[in-house]
Point group: C2
Amino acid sequence: MPATGIQNSLKERGVRLTRQRRILLDLLDRSGRHLDAESLFQLAKEKDPKLNRVTVYRTLTLLKKGGLVDELDLLHFKGDQHYYESKLKQEHAHVICLRCGKVEEFFGELLQRLRRQVESSLGFRLVTARTELGGYCPDCQSLGAQEAADQDAAVTKA
Amino acid sequence: MPATGIQNSLKERGVRLTRQRRILLDLLDRSGRHLDAESLFQLAKEKDPKLNRVTVYRTLTLLKKGGLVDELDLLHFKGDQHYYESKLKQEHAHVICLRCGKVEEFFGELLQRLRRQVESSLGFRLVTARTELGGYCPDCQSLGAQEAADQDAAVTKA
DNA sequence: GTTAGTGCAAACCTTTTGCAGCTCT
DNA sequence: AGAGCTGCAAAAGGTTTGCACTAAC
């Protein structure tokens, strides 16, 4: 298992590369999906059945503090857990389908422009950006609209 | 206590306006701050000591489902609680100072443009947008940079 | 050999649920 | 009157902490 992406960054900072961390970082680096702590734990357990859930949380905290991962919640579509992704990727927004849960990524110059505009108009120096958009994907659009109306009706009657 | 903002919207939907809801909606409508469930509960308790925390959560759930409030987490600067604000206001981003916790709002045409661009490029129909940016406010900038370096050093040694 | 990191158990914090009784319309 | 709403107690879900043992450097 060669050291990749995040692993190199940590090494440079002199953080100990334990067997457990190697497994977790490797999963974060190469996983396409957005992983939450529990999913990451389940995947890691396949590689090392003794690896503890707590170690997953501690590693994620370390990476957050080090600014190596972004924390998302994908609009809490599936619950209150958080999702993590390597920050090595280019900045992007997450677009979540509120019916099927599909998550798309949106890249584009507008995001950087927004950043710059906020920095200059408010005088902030930004280090983190998170944009999450919710709606209905093409496949779910008609169905989603229907359900939304149903739910609205339900609220009305509630 | 006249029915305002959110209250009118609910009334129109035929949702019962109980004493408790009036108190909660009133607080949400007029509070300048971003309130989390617990703060809202504490404020509400001043007006009705019998009002239960659970009622706060149920009311917030109702408002979320009805699309009357937005849910934020302000990058979890202060913990894992969620914050709520009336959706009546114009769309805006939240900009959080990672040192002092100050929260600024950023309005601007770019946010709508981002929305439109995502809709047309991914074919989504968006109903929710949330942009949270973290960094250092003008006051904290030098100090914040120092602490960040310290923290980095701490991580390095950790 | 040191000191950081891990595993285990238990605690914690925020939020949700079940149910009996109360209240808004 | 009657469905909807509330309060209370208890549980659930996700995450953090204390401590003794282990392993990376």
